[in-house]
């Protein structure tokens, strides 16, 4: 790998310090440009989830509290889809982890090109699964809401990141 002044600074700072800085930046950016970044993400996920559930035969109507959250109303349950439900914070941390890893720009872009759609599909799959389980076994919806929408995110982002890191070519061949 060619050593540029920027890559030398990156190496000196180290992965963990860079990850902290990038995570701070991502948190700030998603808060500062909420209407341009987080909100369209939330709307796209809510819309696709609603369409998928309709295709599966469920009666779903999609509403929203503008600028706040989406509302998926089904016969058996009503979801308030907030930013946290869409995994946007976990996606921000994934981007921070990708930007912090010492590799070339093309590899980082590759990680974002398949990481962002993967997060999109993952977030929709979680909501669809939660809606289906709430219909089939309503007693589990409380547990699964916390489990699927809050906790598993960390595992998913590390899985995605580690898969990318493991597929990176050796440093000498870059």
């Amino acid at each position: 790998m060619t050593v540029t002044p920027l890559s030398a600074v990156r190496r000196r700072l180290g992965f963990c310090a860079l990850f902290g800085l990038h995570a701070l930046f991502m948190a700030y950016a998603l808060d500062r440009w909420d209407t341009a970044l987080s909100l369209p993400w939330l709307q796209a996920i809510s819309y696709t989830t609603a369409r998928l559930l309709q295709m599966m035969g469920m009666t779903v109507s999609l509403g929203a509290v503008p600028g706040e959250y989406a509302i998926l109303s089904m016969q058996h349950i009503v979801f308030h889809v907030t930013r946290e439900c869409t995994g946007v914070y976990a996606l921000g941390l994934y981007v921070a982890a990708v930007l912090s890893y010492p590799t070339i720009l093309a590899q980082r872009l590759k990680a974002l090109c398949w990481g962002v759609p993967a997060f999109f599909c993952y977030s929709i799959a979680r909501l669809v699964l939660l809606a289906v389980i709430s219909a089939v076994a309503p007693g589990w919806s409380g547990f699964l809401h916390v489990y699927l929408l809050v906790i598993v995110n960390a595992g998913f982002l590390l899985w995605l990141w580690a898969t990318w890191v493991n597929h990176l070519p050796d440093e000498k061949s870059l």
Binding site: F19, G20, I151, L158, N166
Partner: protein, 160 residues
């Protein structure tokens, strides 16, 4: 630096993480009331020192099922491959201490903000509330695996 192959089988890691989290979440649901009790006690102490007199958090805050992210955080360290139990216990202990400090500070700051009558929470508090737990957990995990993946210092044999 964090080397390639840290998680040689990412899929296995994710499956194990999901399983251990599912098992630990009900346990944490019960324990979290004690955790919250300690936080509320400390925040009330902070409010007595820095807030207006007589202000206390409602006891309804102490309930089961708060801060569920901690169950996932513990599971993350438990399922990290190629680490001994001493490493896991040490880092889970450290993480719990950090999370306890973060949650106490955020709750105290939220109470102070509510008392001060601000319409919206200041930016650092907003970010800590939404990103705090997950960002700190992942960062501490990266620090932990980086420290354990550093090559041991070579000690040359003493020539007699």
């Amino acid at each position: 630096m964090i080397h390639k192959g840290l998680l040689q089988r990412p899929g296995g890691f994710l499956a194990l993480f999901a399983l251990v989290t599912a098992l630990s979440l009900p346990v944490w649901d019960v324990l979290s009331a004690y955790y919250m009790h300690a936080i509320v006690w400390l925040v009330n102490g902070g409010l007595a020192l820095f807030g207006p007199g007589g202000l206390r958090l409602p006891t309804s805050l102490v309930r089961d099922g708060v801060y569920p992210g901690i169950a996932g955080a513990i599971a993350l360290f438990v399922v990290t491959p190629r680490q001994g139990w001493r490493w896991r216990l040490r880092w889970v202990g450290l993480l719990m201490a950090v999370m306890f400090a973060v949650h106490t500070a955020v709750l105290l700051a939220e109470a102070m903000t509510a008392v001060s009558g601000l319409a919206t929470a200041p930016l650092p508090l907003r970010l800590a509330r939404t990103w705090g737990t997950s960002a700190v957990v992942i960062w501490v995990w990266f620090v932990a695996v980086r420290r354990s993946s550093q090559p041991a210092q070579r000690i040359d044999p003493v020539v007699q």
